[in-house]
Amino acid sequence: MTATTALLLTAPAAVPPAVAAGYALTGFVRHEVPRGLPAVRRTQESRPPPVRKATVLTAAGVAGLPERKEAAAASPPGNPAVASPVRAGHPSDWAALASPTVILTCAALLASERVDGGWVSAYSGLLRADALTVWMLLVVGAVAFIACASAPAHLAAERAAGNATAWTMWRYHMLVQTFLGAMCLAVVSANLGVLWVAIEATTVVTAFLVGHRRTRTSVEAAWKYVVICSAGIALAFLGTVLLYYAARQAGIAEAWALDWPTLVAHADRLDPAVTRLGISLVVLGYGAKAGLVPLHAWLPDAHSQAPAPVSALMSGVLLSVAFAAILRYRVIADAALGPDFTRVLLAGIALLTLTLAAGLLLAQRDFKRMLAYSSMEHMSLIALAAAIGSPLALSAALLHIAGHGLAKATAFCASGQILHLRGTTKIGRVRGLLAQYPWLGALFGLAVVALLGFPPFSLFASELGIARAGFATGAGLGWATATALLLVLVAFAALAIRTARMLLGPAEATGESPSALWPLAAGLAACAALGIATGPLGHLLTQAAAVLERP
């Protein structure tokens, strides 16, 4: 039993890096790794600018003929010129699906391994899975599945456009897999120090995914991303250190002073003043990674510059994995300081973030940035639910994490296809998506409809739950919830008008058609299914919310 538990807890964090190592080895064996860095720098430096211009021309209505011909020459004779390299993808791209499958399987098995509402742990308590862990693993696995299944089409398009060399392909897979491993480690770790290390590792790993093109915009986004997130998360580490200090002074042994269950159990013995300082820093620090004010500035830049599947992963799960850390700390803070402290802190941050996101959504002209600000809007709703803190609000927050992850992953992957087909991210230059690509347009539209909170998608249920819980709790939070709903309405209008402009209108004449839309359809179907009936997941959701309740 313990061996199986250890295996199930290790696999989600260990298999993705193993797959990454596999990709690295294959890259080396096939001699596709550049010899010496300067050489690669020179080749890539010279390549992107002309190609990018050609892509933009395509969007302007002039068919990018030179590229097409290249693609046709590259494809084997007899096959249709354009479609084949775009659709087929590299067979090795599909190996990336192994990790999400393993993560989902392990999460399902862990759910059955836990004896009713309890938890399992391995390596003397270093790794631990309770209902919340299982829930987050399921979300990570599901979103990763969508992202990894959309990756082959994305990479094939990049290859066809000449933006990617074989080495950049291998590097893409290596980094994405390591990213997944780090997120899973953050979820299964019971030690708050290891949790910090894993979340910081996600920043380091994704830096080169954000800056994968060496254009000015993407380098700028990568620089801001690393500097703001690293500095922000350093604050979270300072908070963790202060909490460790408080725990040691409360008489907890060194080995257990960063252990989450131990800290929760002995939270009443922590010094309130030190804990208050520590928790504020932690909320600020992990808030940076979750896209909350005041250290949110990296988010729209990074999300708009990263490749679409990576944006899907970052927006869909990275934000919520960071927020799950805040949820864990919130339990300690409430036991040590009473509920009011985190309530005021989180509600304030949530309302500020929501105001900012709604304001910037109103003036948005770039559809990937629009989706990024919508992520901030949804994260602030989750933060508001955490501030409310009743069982209903916590279940709604966790359901919102799942629903937002699925819908946003779909929306970002679809926006990547739109970017590839139209060559622009400007909302004003995209028209008639529904008329020209009915399936892609419908999927993008439905994903935005889900994000707007319409039934049958699960975000409807969770937003309703948050609102109900907010009005039921008390006067102060009732006002906060009312303000939040008003701001959500503003964001709703902005998002709906802009998406409608992109979807409607006459078709433009370009030859290519979108490919590999089934992962997006699956994501939306899962989101809708979750909204109609949680089924066996309902039980898990209640248990996960119970883990986070005030002890």
Binding site: N191, A221, W223, S230, Y244, Y245, L258
Partner: protein
């Protein structure tokens, strides 16, 4: 080691630690800033070493050696290498901005005199904020704890007001040194596994930032971060 000597040596090391951070604000040559950062790494290692000797803990002495190697050796070496690469590039490639300009923090957003005053204010703030921390367990080590927080704040200040990419990297590392010092002074350091993970992450972050600096230079022709204004709303 007697208690009095331990306290004096610890205060000396902490003083050097804080002074290095303040002098970073004073100097404009990036090479000098990196040297100061290395000096601060030594002071940090000395703090850890003194605590290890005082508590007779060999693992802490080993950690001190590791921290000294990383923060006074490897990290300054990496930054210095990037710096010399930029300056050397100037000689080979005409038409770009001068390398001497790359090697200096010519126009920080806040001038030197105001920066030094701010550092003083930040140190006072750190002492005010840290009062509950010291009161919880007043030992010689925790009494020096505000120094760690002051360096954290000064690191943030450098990060926000300095315009050269490498100066910002040093700012981030000052911030990190401050946190490590806080951890040592408050609780004799975090558990070994966390310390290892944190050091590894910091090393990787610096490697990533160094590579990004090269790319910023390639894309913008300068390492002045204020020129990064393509993305905004």
């Amino acid at each position: 080691m007697s208690k009095g000597l331990f306290t004096q040596l610890l205060d000396l090391a902490c003083g050097a630690f804080l002074l290095a951070a303040v002098v970073v604000l004073w100097r404009r040559e990036l090479a000098a800033i990196v040297r100061l950062f290395a000096l601060q790494g030594f002071a940090l290692a000395a703090v850890a070493l003194l605590l290890g000797l005082h508590e007779d803990r060999w693992d802490l002495i080993a950690v001190a050696a590791g921290i000294g190697a990383l923060r006074a050796g490897l990290l300054p070496y990496l930054i210095r290498r990037a710096l010399t690469a930029f300056v050397a590039e100037r000689d080979g490639g005409p038409g770009r901005r001068g390398g001497s300009e790359e090697a200096r923090e010519t126009q920080p957003l806040v001038n030197v005199a105001a920066s030094l005053l701010t550092a003083a204010a930040l140190t006072l703030l750190a002492y005010a904020v840290a009062r509950p921390l010291v009161e919880l367990d007043p030992t010689p080590a925790t009494r020096a704890l505000p120094v760690g927080l002051a360096v954290v704040l000064i690191g943030f200040f450098v990060l926000v007001t300095r315009r050269r990419a490498l100066a910002q990297v040093v700012g981030f590392l000052l911030l990190d040194n401050g946190i490590t010092a806080t951890a040592f002074l408050a609780a004799s350091g975090v558990p070994l596994i966390v310390e290892l993970g944190v050091s590894f992450d910091v090393l990787l972050a610096v490697l990533v930032l160094q590579l990004l600096t090269v790319r910023v230079r390639e894309a913008f022709g300068t390492t002045d971060i204020d020129d990064l204004r393509e993305l905004h709303d």
